[in-house]
Subunit: 510 residues, 2 copies
């Protein structure tokens, strides 16, 4: 039997740090449910002291996961951080506190202004303090990729002696070469006394496009936990993509002496869900989950490939959950059929929510003949977005074209249940509509991104619009909207972003 | 001095094999000019025998490149392929013929049905035959990543003896691990007699997300040429991304004993150009060229990073050509200002083309206050798209919204200069408009993708629409359109795709 490699997902913590990818608690729970379906070993659910929202997310995900996954709260090597994480994890069945400190010369001397001895002292103190709350304590050696080998070994040995069960060796800057990073892990395996009693974890970034290779170099040299995110989400060029590193281990299990327990058939769905919630799409030539990942330019070639080559060499698209969309429902499908299909997709709805979904479904099925799984998921996201809305869309009316002056009339309902109408013109229908909305919702913002993706194939597909708006304080908010009419999708997406901005600023004022 | 690593770009050959990424000759020339600005060493311009279009592209790029780059035509190990490539390269200053054959057991026994001796015989014959035409002959050992070490060494030695100046060791399936692939290159360096007289090249694919790491493992072990594409374009999950592998070499020049002569400041522009022409966008968390590649979530953090860390560890965004858009022109800018700016962007226009561009520019500047470089590039692409149009857009008129029935009226001009109008309704304005177009242009097709990207920031930005349509024979055509009005962009994009489909089918009937 090969070594079991634990998959530590940090989509909800490090992934969420992508500009514009912030999620509210409800959205994080939707992602967490998908992580459980993927059968990840560990879910890093947030950084509890950073905000009440992060605290709440960790608390609720800990309840949700139960015995199915370890749930982690991140902390700095500071007592109040650890107290707060312990509180958020109080009801977790498998709690883990993740604490740590910078260990490279740059982090110790320039950022923290501490000596090497002080660094070890703080690291040990933090681990010992966390051990008072939980048995399972993970230590991160921030910027380990640039730390002195001997010093790094000394820190790791000290924290293991203090009770750390997992030691995380991150390549924080994402600039290492795989063989060098592998050597670093090997050095620790050979020079840290007691390392066989801890799990060695790798946490890599993709700044040079090598996060997957770095992680596998770690696994080959002794690591048995990999930290990663769905779609490689994360700051800058992102973290290691779960789907890549897991399939890499699967294709090379013997050479790496490794396997994971991930349910790879959930990859495509997880990828779509993460895109839909964060508004960050994957490119068509993204490995494993891109639309072209398994597309050979010629059918004959593909046929030859599948006939002759071992499955060990070619990934069967079904193995990662790719395949043709299934036609599931039409306007003649009833409540029960919709409920059944949504349950298969992982959504359990109360009666009231199901009724609302059924209305939205019928409305779509009237316009489109065939309603696909992707359409249903898009409707689900849409209904979730409406739950916390301050402004909702009553109607929008557009005339535009070439040569015409695009004009929009918009009617919104506000939280006080008042209905307000405004109109404006612009360079295009979206511009005109946004200006009309701005006349009603007077919130200063700058539209920094606008994109549309069709959810399914065909010209009658649902269009999903993503917008990103930047508040005057520089904070970015993502909004999404789905409708058969792209202008309506755009209006919904813009309102979704504005509602998030308004809710967030209101929360901060509390 | 470190070893010079030659950059062999295959965006126009392997990159173009991405589904829907096919380019016409004019588009290939635009990309080739950008490759020359990047200062690549080698341009693989096409596969001359595969189509008259590929032949013509190789011929014209060979003329364009002159002394500035080696131009390559691909062939199978077949005399008529080599004849055709030699003809296409007749006027090249630095011609190279790239020939080769499968060398893995699967390729030899299942695909080609030849013995090992026959394989070597054919390889040597092809190289010798190509040498009659050109001095510079590159041999590719297809599926080398899965070939027997000793046999691979034997083939490589034989082709070098036959005169191959470059030997390309591809990881055709994209499933190798970097350290294994590096070992393979090392084995060849140590076991092939005369290998010091040839350039060893690596050609990797990204199926497991490790193309860059594979290529660098090749470089570390002796390769001095890397084959790659802009944005990592290519079949399935694509080829090695030029921007990643070049920046990897730049960050780790000493460890790898390597440097390139690439003008990295052209990377962002090259990335945008390739996206615009092929319609294949890069994700925001793509390494080096993604919108978030250098975005730190907090400004303070970024400030700290830039102050304290060496440039060796952090890439300065300016080094790859990233930065704020420059406001260059307004409605008050004259012909000369436009001409000057376009020249700086690399476009040289004749008077008539400049006049047309100026009209389009003024039209845009009237709607938008500030015209950015990206807007100008988008207008340039738009004007190029019109050059070979069968149908052009005269007018389009839309009414839509919620709750309304989206309706579109479209007027097109056909090649016979006739003006035809049609109207229809649909689930949304785009659907209605497409249906109206279909009533006029009666070409069977299936819309398989629709996406919109805003070209610049702000709500009055140009919207660039990409559509992909699939013809009944399964061939995919990409269309793009840009306008301030998203519905007009969509109409232009759809017509662009239909025009390509019509032109392509007409060419095949010839």
């Amino acid at each position: 039997m090969t070594r079991k490699i634990a998959i530590f997902d940090t989509t909800l913590r490090d992934g969420e740090q992508s500009p514009g990818a912030s999620m509210n608690t409800e959205e994080k729970l939707v992602v967490a449910r998908q992580l459980l379906r993927l059968n990840v070993d560990v879910i890093e659910a947030g950084f509890p002291i950073s905000s009440p929202g992060d605290f709440e997310s960790v608390r609720r995900i800990a309840e949700l996961a139960g015995d199915d996954a370890t749930v982690v709260g991140l902390t700095r090597a500071v007592e109040k951080d650890i107290d707060r994480a312990a509180e958020a994890l109080k009801y977790a069945k498998r709690p883990r506190i993740h604490t740590g400190i910078g260990v490279s010369p740059s982090h110790m001397h320039d950022k923290l202004r501490i000596t090497e001895d002080q660094c070890i002292e703080r690291a040990v103190a933090a681990v010992s303090y966390a051990k008072k709350y939980v048995e399972d304590v993970q230590f991160y050696a921030e910027d380990a990729g640039r730390a002195d080998y001997a010093f790094l070994a000394k820190v790791i040995q000290a924290v293991i002696e203090a009770g750390a069960t997992v030691v995380n060796i991150p390549d924080t800057t994402g600039y290492s070469l795989p063989d060098e990073f592998g050597q670093r892990i090997k050095y620790l395996m050979e020079n840290v006394r007691g390392i066989e009693n801890a799990t060695v974890s790798v946490h890599c970034h993709n700044d040079l496009g090598m996060a997957t290779a770095l992680s596998l170099a770690g696994v080959r040299n002794g690591a048995t936990q990999v930290e990663c995110t769905i779609n490689g989400l994360g700051e800058r060029a992102g973290n290691t993509a779960m789907e890549e590193v897991v399939m890499g281990i699967r294709m090379h299990g013997d050479e790496l002496d490794a396997h994971t327990d991930i349910n790879t058939r959930e990859f495509i769905k997880a990828s779509r869900l993460a895109s839909s919630i964060t508004g960050i799409n994957v490119q068509v030539n993204k490995a494993i989950v891109g639309a072209n990942a398994f597309a050979h330019s010629s059918g004959i070639h593909q046929d030859g490939v599948l006939k002759k080559r071992d499955t060990y060499e070619i990934i069967d698209p079904a193995e990662v959950g790719a395949g043709q969309s299934q036609i599931v429902l039409t306007a003649r499908s009833g409540h029960a059929a919709l409920k059944h299909r949504l349950e298969e997709l992982g959504y359990e709805l109360d009666k009231e929510h199901l009724d609302r979904m059924y209305d939205a479904f019928l409305d779509l099925a009237d316009k489109k003949k065939e309603v696909y799984d992707e359409d249903l998921e898009s409707l689900m996201h849409e209904s979730r977005r409406n739950e916390t809305a301050v402004y909702t869309l009553e109607s929008v009316q557009i005339s535009c074209g070439f040569p015409l002056t695009p004009t929009a009339t918009v009617t919104l309902r506000n939280a006080a249940d008042q209905v307000v109408t405004a109109c404006d013109f612009g360079t295009g229908p979206i511009d005109a509509m946004y200006k009309a909305v701005n006349k009603i919702v007077q919130v200063e913002n700058d539209l920094s991104e606008f994109s549309v993706q069709s959810v399914t194939r065909g010209i009658d597909a649902l269009g999903e619009v993503t917008v990103r708006v930047t508040a005057p304080d520089g904070e970015v908010y993502t909004g999404r909207g789905a409708d058969g009419d792209i202008v309506v999708s755009s209006a919904k997406a813009y309102l979704n972003a504005l509602n998030r901005l308004i809710n967030d600023k209101a929360e901060h004022r509390k």
